[in-house]
Symmetry: C2
Subunit: 202 residues, 2 copies
Amino acid sequence: MARARGRQPTFDRDEALETALDLFWRHGYDGVSIADLTKAIGIAAASLYHAFGSKADLYREVLRHYRSVRIGAKEIADATSSYDAVRQMLDRGIAAVTMPGKPLGCMVSSGMLMTSEENADLAAELKAIRTASRKALERRIARDIKEGILPATTNAAALARFYMTVLQGLSVQALDGASAAELRLVAASALRAWPGAPSDLL
Amino acid sequence: MARARGRQPTFDRDEALETALDLFWRHGYDGVSIADLTKAIGIAAASLYHAFGSKADLYREVLRHYRSVRIGAKEIADATSSYDAVRQMLDRGIAAVTMPGKPLGCMVSSGMLMTSEENADLAAELKAIRTASRKALERRIARDIKEGILPATTNAAALARFYMTVLQGLSVQALDGASAAELRLVAASALRAWPGAPSDLL
DNA sequence: CTTAATGTTTAGTGAACACTAAACAAATGG
DNA sequence: CCATTTGTTTAGTGTTCACTAAACATTAAG
């Protein structure tokens, strides 16, 4: 496999994606302009379009890169138990929304929640990602119910939705300045609602 | 008190605020343009500026109107118990984010979470509202601890933050299409984490 | 009726928006 | 060297952005 034929790019595509990730993560899709991106990356607008297609396509690629580093449907399905899946999801979620040197919050949990109709397609893609995670958790919980690990009276859909609710709320809390330690206490509270979790009083 | 001196407005100011509320609620601050507002209200841009000052000022007034109809720091402080405050907060929150005929989600919980730096001041005002609610709940819980209603080992700050986290997550879930009934099950799960709540297994 | 006050409209401001045509630059293959 | 391929730049496109100056319209006070 020889080198590509034409002129070589003057910028590192992965570095540019990281730069775009930082901007989109920090300011959201609407809050970042093409001018912001080209200035931060250090290229002309035409180069950015040549490399990434459009602003929406760049956002999609940034989002794919962002998601590849964190826990998703696959990790949930592969967890040793649904309780462990939830614990891991919350732990990793907290780490993700409070990473030092990175923007606060989560691009998926807090991204494009309210946006114009012209960006409705991108918002729908984010919503689909959130829904897929919830469904994966629901399936993992249902499996534990079928295997008798969780009581038969457990409502898998409701329990999965509850922990997704907490996860999404954690992103808002991080954006409002909560530390990882404070969020771990929140996660601990949430885990007290797990079916069969010990009550500390009475 | 006689009538005002000059020409009478041709539009109802409260109706205009309601229209602006619907737009901002549905599409967020960035997702609504002055052109959107003037078209929906049915007035020229100059009239809107004459009546409301600026887009940011209009948003502030819309937000004040929006908040006046829902539970805030005062209702939390006046609740008969911190548990009741939390239960009411979740119940009313669910009703607010799933009101038929109204936009989904909550302007405060899901508003301006990621925005450009030029709107950082508005985002900070929303953050301040969220923080004030959390602090009010924390004080209400601390009072119940001091009065012996809650165990002395209870962490008021952590518990308040947990239920604010759930409340903010509920808004995302509503935006993603969850029904009020589904969200009530989420709230029920969350209340199982209350100190001394009965565990349904062992 | 005149004056003052207030709200309206038309018609615009300059700036920023996402995006692109066209020419130039640098690389490989023959 | 020449052709081809690819990425670059400059210099724009038309549109939309939030916002406003100035003239006109309607009201009450004097």
